[in-house]
């Protein structure tokens, strides 16, 4: 017997809350069930999830977002990848670029051919075969166009945006689609005898019942943790950073189409260019650095004048033991946190929403569905975790206690195996549903200084001269394609320029 969900409450109105509410509103159109967001203006949002990865397009498509309008409304810029500075060692730099690297030949990934020629000292730097990397370096951008086999036909990109404006934009859309917003702070969570959540009582005395609760209350996990005591798996031994200081700064140059992550003595600093400002932050480990020192490093490394007081953020890297427990689903920071190094926070929000639609419950809340949902979420989190740990662990830095710890710490077995295998044979082994592709693994492992001793034997099938010619051809096509691209700034000016705020 189906017992339809009659009402869903989304608790918390940051990026996660409004992404969830907008998706539910768009899909369910308030006809299937009532959707209510409860948020309090007294409780701030973390609001630093400002960079995304190309999978965000799936969410945008789901809610039918007009991309240029969204760009204008959120002061967004385009993103073609992430530049990692000083990670392998001080003075080093590499791109983890979106999209293709070179061109696969004879069913074999390009990078095997490149490794072969590099071993012979006859390959140009990888960036010169990678459209996104080269475009980042030259600050160019365009969307894909119909250009046959040209790399211009397949440009993968994402966005940098102001998370506060993004939430506001989604709120407007969600309310148009019938989502109700209630201002108020939760003072009591009432449960049924079986432990399921029955209602939320707000400070104004009103009580709000629902069948299904989506906890977007951030790190504290008001429903999933404080009420349901779900438990948290702490990963700080692998991802030891536990603090961040965030501050916006004035724009001093045209925006770059990439995020920059610069390694610091006990963590790293992000720089995210938006149209109206630059988002900055310093993620660090409090065991190895004080807040004052972290703030000083951040402020010293700003390109422009700080536009607000630095804001401290505390967190513990890890994940909930269950993302969905009884009639409560944790989305965003309430579900787990893995720091913004690869811009995966909003992706995980979107992945949770997508799985929610696949496993959409009725009031019986079948435990087998919930178990499978949790299994899939754990898989996503664990694979992303390993990819993040790679950045810290595979380093030559020995200039601080923090890096000595990261370099020598034990890592999860699967990551250790991946690294060993790459070192031995230049191969990357992954399951179908892992989020990061073999190209991502390749770029980061190589960028972090892991040098493979071999490559796929099939790369030897081309005679050296023939392969050199082909690689040169690919390099030349990438060069010409990048030359064709307009500057990032002029593309924004022509398509999605936002109004001035500051």
């Amino acid at each position: 017997m189906i017992e339809k969900i009659r009402k869903i409450i989304v608790l918390g109105g940051g990026s996660a809350g409004w992404m969830t509410a907008a998706a539910l509103g768009k899909v369910l159109k308030n006809q299937y069930c009532q959707i209510q967001v409860i948020e309090s203006e007294q409780i701030g949002t973390v609001g630093v999830g400002e960079a995304t990865i190309p999978q965000i397009m799936l969410y945008n498509e789901l809610i039918g977002l007009d991309e240029n309008d969204f760009m204008r409304r959120t002061q967004a810029t385009f993103k073609l990848g992430i530049q990692f500075v000083d990670w392998q060692k001080q003075g080093s730099s590499y791109f983890h670029a979106f999209g293709d690297v070179g061109k696969n030949m004879e069913g074999l990934q390009f990078y095997h051919y490149w490794l072969r020629m590099r071993a012979l000292g006859k390959a140009a730097p990888l960036d010169e075969y990678t459209l996104s990397s080269l475009a980042c370096l030259e600050q160019r951008f365009m969307r894909s166009m119909d250009a046959g086999n040209s790399p211009l036909s397949n440009i993968a990109y994402a966005f940098h945006f102001d998370a506060g404006l993004f939430a506001q934009y989604l709120r407007e859309l969600a309310e148009q689609w019938g989502v109700q917003r209630t201002e108020g702070e939760v003072v009591e969570v009432r449960q049924l005898d079986n432990g399921f959540i029955r209602s939320l009582r707000l400070a104004d005395g009103t009580e709000h019942e629902a069948d299904f609760f989506i906890d977007c209350s951030g790190f504290r996990g008001l429903l999933i943790e404080q009420t349901l005591k779900t438990g948290y798996e702490d990963w700080s031994h692998w991802l030891p950073c536990d603090r961040a200081i965030a501050v916006p700064s004035a724009t001093t140059s045209e925006p770059w189409p990439f995020t920059r992550a610069t390694a610091q003595r006990a963590g790293w600093q992000w720089r995210i260019p938006l149209q109206h400002r630059v988002g900055n932050g310093h993620v660090y480990c409090s065991r190895f650095m004080s807040e004052d020192e972290a703030t000083a490093i951040l402020l010293k490394n700003l390109d422009g004048e700080a536009l607000a007081e630095p804001r401290p953020i505390r967190f513990v890297t890890g994940k909930r033991k269950q993302f969905w427990n009884k009639n409560c689903l944790a989305v965003g920071l309430a579900g787990g946190f893995m720091e913004p190094l690869e811009s995966t926070s909003l992706h995980l929000v979107q992945a949770t929403i997508s799985k929610l639609f696949s496993f959409f419950p009725d009031r019986n809340f079948a435990q087998s569905d919930i178990d499978e949902f949790n299994r899939q979420m754990h898989f996503d989190y664990d694979k992303i975790r390993d990819f993040l740990i790679l950045h810290y662990h595979a380093t030559e830095r020995n200039d601080s206690e923090f890096w000595n710890y990261c370099r020598t710490m034990p890592v999860p077995d699967e990551l250790s195996q991946k690294i060993q295998q790459f070192k031995a044979n230049g191969r990357i082994f992954r399951f179908n549903n892992e989020m990061f592709s073999d190209l991502s693994w390749f770029e980061v492992m190589l960028g972090q200084g892991i040098t493979p001793q071999g490559y796929h034997p099939m790369a030897d099938l081309f005679p050296e001269a023939e392969l050199a010619k082909r690689l040169e051809g690919i390099r030349s096509v990438v060069r010409k394609s990048v030359d064709y691209m307009p500057s990032h700034q002029s593309f924004i000016d022509q398509n999605c320029k936002a109004g001035k705020i500051y």
Binding site: I2, K29, Y32, Q417, Q420, F429, N432, D460
Partner: protein, 460 residues
């Protein structure tokens, strides 16, 4: 010169493994030696391979026409199931016209819920073509159709093995025969040499072991096998047939000149007379061959330089799933990782983990046939109408969906992503797809015409 790759085993599995590996590695200077051992049990006379087999033939450069001619092969778009009064089709290809169409299967399930006369097969080009005896190779300019019309082959096992042996000989593989083979190990536990019954000691780089017989001390269970040959020619059926019996399933594989029946029972308490009686009732055939075998277990097929691929593939081999498909997976995956060529324990470890995942997905698929609601996959489908995401490509999405809806699993819950569409909108959308599929199938040739054309091409 690289260390030799030595293959041991017999029949089709040995030839297949040798062909795949020799084709790919001989150019790198690996000498390939195949040691043919006597078969302890007779190989089944016929087999069914999925789309991977066709891809493999292309990869080897074996012309399809040649395989069709030599191995008396026919095409297979999937399997037609029959259980009591109900029947359904499990295709290799996908439902609808676009594999990536969001929620298409959900729309089908929604229609089935409202309209008892509708069938999922109406929205599957492979199923519709199979029901009309039609088969065509998708044109090169229609990659979308190639996926929808993914096909496998039914083959005579011995003839296909002979074809592959000839291929291997042309590649320069050395063939040796021996009654026995004894492995000698190095101090590190690697196989250093293989000793044949004539005293020859062969040095080994990698030993690709295609034997299927489990050792006596291994956890294995006994299965009873039945097979029979039928002279009825079924060229109007470009598919396998699967009938439900009181103990499991009976599979029929049509070849160009007759067909072959196979069944397997894992219940040792059932009496032979019971089987024979029911098999005769179902097929009209009285001549059934019976044998028993041990179903092995193998979760760590890559151990140092010993690759126990035959043993691993045999864990899944049964009338509903040919172990050759698993053997192919093991080989291709190994080639993809192979080693340049220093042994990396992490690689072997990850390889074995992937194999366990593959094995578990196939076992789940097989288990669904017996107890659909005892599997997580079946439970999720019965609740949500969704196929759980898989980590390997062992079973195609169309196969999961086709089997579970055919077994009568009806989802309790509707797709939320279709919640904003009315039933009328969904019906209209589906009917349009149905009409397009019907038009495409009408224009397709029969399997007989396609087979004749292929065989004529060979004779020219």
């Amino acid at each position: 010169m690289q260390q030799p790759l030595v293959f041991i085993g017999h029949g089709l599995w040995l030839q297949m493994a040798t062909a795949i590996v020799a084709k790919h590695l001989q150019p790198f200077g690996y000498p390939c030696i195949a040691i043919e051992l006597p078969a302890k049990a007779k190989e089944p006379a016929a087999m069914a391979g999925g789309p991977e087999l066709v891809t493999l033939c292309q990869m080897l450069g074996l012309p399809l026409q040649l395989v069709l001619a030599r191995a008396q092969a026919t095409f297979s778009l999937g399997s037609q199931y029959q259980s009591g009064d109900s029947s359904w089709f499990v295709p290799f290809g996908h439902y609808g016209l676009n594999a990536a169409a969001a929620e298409f299967e959900q729309a089908i399930l929604q229609l089935l819920r409202l309209d008892a006369n509708s069938k999922a097969e109406q929205f599957c080009i492979a199923a519709l073509a199979a029901s009309q005896g039609k088969f065509a190779l998708a044109p090169a300019n229609r990659p979308d159709l190639a996926e929808a019309l993914s096909y496998g082959l039914h083959l005579q096992t011995a003839e296909f093995a002979a074809c592959l042996k000839h291929y291997n000989q042309q590649l320069g593989v050395t063939f040796l025969s021996s009654q026995t083979v004894e492995m000698k190990y190095s101090a590190e536990g690697q196989i250093s040499t293989l000793q044949l019954d004539n005293g020859t000691a062969l040095p080994v780089g990698y030993c690709l072991d295609c034997r299927t017989e489990p050792a006596a001390d291994e956890a294995s269970h006994t299965v009873q096998l039945f097979c029979a040959q039928d002279t009825t020619v079924l060229l109007q059926q470009p598919h396998s047939s699967v009938l439900q019996t009181s103990w499991g399933w009976l599979v029929r594989l049509p070849l160009q000149q007759g067909s072959h029946w196979f069944s397997q029972c894992t219940d040792p308490t059932l009496e032979l007379s019971h089987f024979r009686q029911e098999l005769q009732q179902l097929t009209g055939l009285s001549e059934w061959q019976h044998s028993t075998r041990q179903q092995p277990t193998e979760s760590q097929p890559w151990q140092l330089n010993h690759l126990r691929f035959g043993q691993a593939a045999a864990t899944l081999d049964c009338p509903l799933y040919n172990g050759l498909n698993a053997l192919q997976y093991l080989l291709i995956r190994w080639l993809d990782l192979l080693p340049n060529q220093s042994y990396c324990p992490a690689t072997a470890l990850m390889y074995n983990q992937h194999w366990q995942q593959f094995q578990s997905e196939v076992q789940d698929f097989l288990w669904l046939h017996q107890h659909p609601l005892a599997t997580k996959t079946g439970q999720a489908f019965a609740r949500l109408g969704r196929v759980l995401s898989t980590e390997t490509d062992a079973i195609k999405a169309g196969q999961w969906f086709g089997l579970m809806q055919g077994l009568g699993l009806k989802p309790e819950l509707r797709s939320m992503l279709l919640a904003h569409r009315t039933d009328t909108e969904i019906h209209q959308g589906l009917r349009q797809v149905q009409q397009q599929i019907a038009r495409l199938v009408t224009a397709m040739p029969s399997q007989i015409d396609t087979l004749n054309r292929c065989l004529q091409q060979l004779s020219h």
